[in-house]
Subunit: 252 residues, 2 copies
């Protein structure tokens, strides 16, 4: 893994803050958390916490400030549209203690877009050009109205395909650490059968995170053991050692 | 709504705490948050926050204590299986400052089940009978190993069908408040077109929560306005008034 040498020992962490009453009421089922989690793992960012909060200013501001102090990055989704319930941009500005106003860079994107599509420039639509002072814009190739990055907080839309476009657009600006890599071992046995051996093996490899994930196949309990580590050789050592123990006990 | 008279003015709130590295890594996509959210809305509990935290003792204990102080109920999912990474029961005991040990009521459920299915009673399986002192068990009709309710914290499995069985089993023990009811208005227009009228209408009905949820249909932007309130007549008044305004403006 020589290519990652410079950042090889870095751990880069992140949190997600999902903003929206509609997720908490159950009306909308979140599809962004899993997507961002996969993306973080793929690029070498460790997702450490997720919060979902309602469209309430104090809740959003408090969560932004808690999370941005604890993690390298905070990804927010939702609440940057044109209607009165879209208060995320205002809350980010408030969390950082900066002002917010219509941004010329955003206007330069939005005005030609609305003109070309024959839409009126309403105050609501201008609202989508309001960007906290000091933030950098994030391109939205789906519907133009941009996201933004303010300090270590990345503010994106809630609509999944727009969020995905913004996440892709902002990723080159993010620092990343060593990638967490994993190995999975599938077992045709319930996890209770191997719990002691697995726990003892975890104790031998404190630097390798080991989890057990039960499910059912054809009505029978099966189980997947997942080992995760940023050191590929160490991961291989731990996985190979575990397989030998499970084989010798008749489980693999 | 005379049937709900005694609790008609009560607001009962809840949070969800999802525990598990596998959700944060993206390996497993959560399917419990949306289910619990729908369930809370249906029975008259207002879900106010969700957190997802890793399998780290301090993180779990801190989140449990923060959330249980703020909300009427906290639903936890994940981390109550037989393996070393299942630390939720221990963390709940620690959060409440009580002990934890193998519980006779849980043993009475588990031992006959394992005996009947020919499984060994391993220390890992005994681990699933460890219940914080003072907690009430929650029935698990899928795989027997129980959940539990400690104070206002309801601890359930992470496997969706087991979580759902536990949620159903515990619900009769929960107090519920007035149900949040909603009306949706579908518009064949992007939300930017109606943002001002919608915002002005929200100001007239501060007790009715109004949200705008854009999406696409056949490549064209469409929008759903959702009005939510615990007072059915007030909700009808707000929705009817909004429809008139939108119709008069040519949008409905």
């Amino acid at each position: 893994m020589a290519a990652a040498a410079d950042t090889a020992t870095d751990t880069v962490t992140a949190a997600i803050l999902v903003i929206g009453d509609e997720i908490l009421s159950g009306r909308t089922k979140d599809r962004n958390i899993g997507w961002i989690a996969d993306h973080c793992t793929a690029v070498g960012i460790q997702l450490r916490e997720v919060r979902i909060v309602p469209d309430i200013e104090d809740e959003i501001v408090a969560a932004v400030n808690t999370l941005r102090a604890r993690f390298n990055y905070v990804f927010t989704t939702g609440g940057i549209g044109p209607t009165h319930d879209d208060i995320t941009a205002y809350c980010i500005a408030k969390a950082f203690g900066v002002g917010i106003d219509v941004d010329q860079r955003a206007l330069d994107l939005l005005l030609p877009y609305y003109k070309a599509s024959g839409r009126e420039i309403t105050p609501g639509r201008l609202r989508m050009a309001r960007i906290p002072f000091g933030a950098d814009l994030i391109e939205n190739k789906v519907s133009i109205a941009p996201g933004f990055m303010m300090g270590n907080v990345i503010t994106m839309a809630g609509v999944p395909n727009i969020m995905q476009a913004m996440l892709e657009a902002v990723t080159p600006r993010l620092k990343t650490g060593r990638k967490m890599i994993s190995q999975a071992i599938d077992l045709n046995h319930p996890e209770g059968a191997i719990a002691e051996k697995f726990g003892a093996h975890q104790k031998l490899f404190p630097d390798v995170s080991m989890g057990s994930y039960p499910s059912q196949r054809d009505g029978k309990p099966v189980n997947q053991l997942v080992l995760r580590c940023t050191d590929e050789l160490r991961l291989e050592e731990a996985a190979a050692g575990l397989k030998v123990k499970l084989r010798d006990a008749g489980y693999f």
